[in-house]
C-alpha cells in the first residue's frame, strides 16, 4: 500500500547509489586487510627495491626463522593463563553478585563498571615501580597478573548477565540436599553456564592478545616479548622489513578473526544492553 507513486527511474538511481555506497564501505573495510594478506605472500625483499611479483612463502619462512615463533608461544602462554585465571575469579565473583545481597555490593558493581574503562596509561608508572622493586620486570608472571586484572572487570560483567538467566531454585535444591556453595558453583552452575564462560574467556583472550602498552613498559627481554611487541622488531630505524611484518601481522590476526566470529553478537548486546531498553 503506497500513497506516493514511485518513479521507477528515481528508484533505480537510488538503489544504484545505495549499492555504490555499499561497495565504497566494503573497499574501505576490507582493503587494508586484503593488502596485508596479499603483501605477506609477495616477494618484497628489502634489498631488492622492486617488487617483481610472484607468490612465495619466503616471508613466512624467514619470519619463523628469525624467532617469531617465540613471540607466538609467549603470547599464547601469557594470554591463556591470564584468561583462565580471570575466568575462574570472575565466576565466583559473578555468582556472589547475582545470588547474595551484602554490604559493599554497590561498591563492587561500581568498581567493575569503572574498571572496564580504566585508563591503564595512568597505572603504568606505579605498576612499573612496584614490579621493578619486586623483580617482576621482564617476567611473564608479572604480565599475566596485569592481564588478569585488566580483563577481569569485563568478564565479571558478562558472566553476571549470563548468571541471572539461571534460576536460583537450582542452587537452592542442591543446598537443601546438603551441597556447599562451592560445590553448587563448580558442579551445577558451571556446566550450565559453560557457553557464557566461553564467551567471556574468548573476550578476555582477545583483549590480552592485542595489548601493547603494558607489554612495552614491562618487557624488554627479547625472549619474553609477546606478538604485538615482536611485530615492531621488524620496524628498523632506517628500513622496514615489510615482508616479515606482513606475514607476522597475518599470523597475529588469524586467531582473533576465528575467535571473533561466534562472539560478535554477544559482545554487542553486552556492551549496549542498558541503552536499548
Amino acid at each position: 500500500m503506497r500513497t506516493r507513486s514511485v518513479n521507477p527511474v528515481a528508484n533505480i538511481i537510488e538503489n544504484g547509489a545505495l549499492l555504490i555506497a555499499f561497495v565504497v564501505f566494503a573497499v574501505f573495510l576490507l582493503g587494508p586487510a586484503f593488502y596485508v594478506f596479499k603483501g605477506s605472500f609477495e616477494n618484497l625483499s628489502v634489498s631488492l627495491i622492486s617488487s617483481d611479483g610472484g607468490w612465495t612463502l619466503n616471508n613466512y619462512i624467514s619470519l619463523f626463522q628469525s624467532g617469531y615463533f617465540i613471540y607466538v608461544v609467549n603470547s599464547l602462554v601469557v594470554c591463556i593463563t591470564a584468561t583462565a585465571m580471570a575466568c575462574t575469579i570472575s565466576l565466583f565473583c559473578a555468582y556472589c553478585l547475582s545470588r547474595f545481597r551484602f554490604k559493599g555490593r554497590g561498591f563492587v558493581f561500581a568498581a567493575i563498571m569503572g574498571g572496564q574503562f580504566f585508563p591503564w596509561i595512568i597505572l603504568v608508572n606505579p605498576i612499573f615501580i612496584v614490579f621493578a622493586r619486586s623483580g617482576l620486570i621482564n617476567s611473564q608472571i608479572g604480565l599475566i597478573l596485569c592481564y588478569t586484572a585488566f580483563i577481569t572487570p569485563f568478564t565479571i560483567y558478562l558472566m553476571v548477565g549470563y548468571l541471572t538467566t539461571i534460576p536460583k531454585s537450582l542452587d537452592e535444591a542442591a543446598i537443601v540436599d546438603g551441597a556447599s556453595r562451592f560445590t553448587v558453583v563448580t558442579k551445577i552452575i558451571l556446566p550450565i553456564m559453560w557457553p557464557g564462560m566461553v564467551a567471556a574467556g574468548t573476550f578476555g583472550f582477545l583483549q590480552s592478545w592485542s595489548e601493547y602498552l603494558l607489554a612495552l613498559a614491562l618487557i624488554t627481554d627479547n625472549a619474553k616479548k609477546t606478538i604485538p611487541l615482536g611485530l615492531y622488531q621488524y620496524f628498523g630505524d632506517v628500513q622496514v622489513d615489510w615482508g616479515a611484518v606482513m606475514a607476522g601481522s597475518v599470523v597475529a590476526t588469524v586467531p582473533t578473526l576465528l575467535l571473533f566470529l561466534p562472539l560478535q553478537r554477544k559482545l554487542v548486546s553486552g556492551l549496549t544492553a542498558g541503552a536499548t531498553k
Binding site: F28, M113, W120, I122, P126, A149, F260, T272, A275
Partner: protein, 306 residues
C-alpha cells in the same frame, strides 16, 4: 562449635569475592593512589630504589605552564578525541542505515556486511597500524602508487611524516579499526524499531527525512549516547595508535597526553612528572566517567540482577 548458617553464608561470600577484591585493590586502587603520591615527588627511573623527594605541586605547575601543554591538549581533545569520535559515529550510523535499507536487505547483503565488519573489528590495533602504514608508505604503498599513476601527484607523499596529512592518517586508522563496533551496535538498535511506525508516518505524508529525524534518530539516541561516551573515554586515553603510527612525531607534532606520559616516564625517565600528567588525565576522565555512571553505568548492571 557449630557455625550458624548466616555466618557460613558470610564466609562463603568473603572467600568468593576475595580474589576480585585483591585485584581491585592491588591493580586499580593502590596504583591510583600511589600514582597520586608519585606525582608530588621528583622520582626518576634512575633513583627507583631510593625513591623521590617531596616537591609539592611543582610537577603540575611545570606541566600546565609548559610550552608544549597547549599543543598536547589541543591534539588530545580536538584531533584524537573529538574528530575521531565524531567521524566514527557518523560513519557507523551511515553504514547501519545503509544495511538497514530495504534494497540492500532484499539483496541479502546483511550477512556479508556483518562478516565485512568483522575484519577491521577483529584486527588488533597493532596490526591495524601496520596495515595502514603499509598502504600509506611512500615507497611501496598502494595509495601512493595509485595517486602517482593517475597523475594526481608527481612525487610520493609520506603521509605519516607530513604535517598536513599526519592527523588525518592517524584518524583514518582509528576509524577503520573502531567503526565496526559502532556500526554493528547501531544496526542492532535500528532493527528494534517497529516497522509500522515508519509506515504509519509515510501514510500521514512524512518525508523520508522527517521519518529519520523524528522516528529513527530519537530511537537511536540512547545507543548513540552510550557509544559516544564509551568512545570518548576509550580514545582520550589511547596510546597505541599515535605511538605506533608516528611515535608522537614528526618532532612532537602529534604528541598527545598518553604518549607524553609514556615518553616522560620511559624516555626522559622522570616518573614523578609523568605521574602528574597521568593524574591530570584521570581528573578529566573522572568527569566523563561520572557522566557515564549517572546515565548508564550502575543502573544497567543493577537492572540485570536487581
Amino acid at each position: 562449635m557449630t557455625i550458624s548458617p548466616k555466618m557460613r553464608t558470610r564466609m562463603t561470600i568473603f572467600w568468593m569475592l576475595l580474589p576480585t577484591f585483591l585485584i581491585l585493590i592491588g591493580f586499580y586502587l593502590f596504583p591510583t593512589l600511589y600514582n597520586l603520591e608519585l606525582s608530588f615527588t621528583d622520582i626518576t627511573l634512575l633513583k627507583l630504589k631510593k625513591g623521590g623527594d617531596f616537591v609539592g605541586a611543582t610537577n603540575y605547575s611545570e606541566f600546565l605552564t609548559s610550552s608544549t601543554f597547549r599543543d598536547i591538549a589541543i591534539n588530545t581533545v580536538f584531533w584524537l578525541t573529538a574528530i575521531s569520535v565524531t567521524v566514527r559515529i557518523v560513519l557507523g550510523l551511515l553504514f547501519a542505515l545503509l544495511l538497514n535499507s530495504k534494497f540492500l536487505k532484499s539483496m541479502r547483503l546483511t550477512t556479508i556486511a556483518r562478516l565485512m565488519l568483522l575484519v577491521p573489528w577483529a584486527t588488533p590495533p597493532v596490526v591495524a597500524v601496520i596495515a595502514w602504514r603499509w598502504l600509506l608508505d611512500p615507497t611501496y604503498g598502494p595509495i601512493n602508487s595509485w595517486l602517482l599513476s593517475s597523475g594526481l601527484i608527481s612525487d610520493p607523499i609520506a603521509f605519516t611524516a607530513t604535517l598536513s596529512t599526519v592527523w588525518p592518517a592517524i584518524i583514518t586508522i582509528i576509524v577503520w579499526n573502531t567503526t565496526p563496533l559502532i556500526g554493528v551496535s547501531l544496526l542492532a538498535a535500528l532493527q528494534t524499531i517497529p516497522e509500522d511506525l515508519n509506515e504509519a508516518a509515510a501514510i500521514d505524508g512524512a518525508t523520508r527525512w522527517q521519518q529519520f529525524r523524528f522516528i529513527t534518530l530519537p530511537y537511536l539516541m540512547p545507543t548513540i549516547s552510550v557509544l559516544t561516551l564509551m568512545s570518548v573515554i576509550w580514545t582520550f586515553n589511547n596510546f597505541v595508535y599515535v605511538w605506533l603510527t608516528t611515535g608522537a612525531g614528526p618532532g612532537t607534532f602529534t604528541n598527545v597526553l598518553a604518549t607524553e606520559v609514556y615518553m616522560k616516564a620511559f624516555i626522559d625517565l622522570r616518573i614523578g612528572y609523568s605521574a602528574a600528567i597521568g593524574v591530570t588525565m584521570a581528573v578529566v576522565m573522572a568527569f566523563f566517567g561520572a557522566m557515564y555512571f549517572r546515565y548508564f553505568g550502575l543502573t544497567d548492571m543493577q537492572d540485570k540482577v536487581g
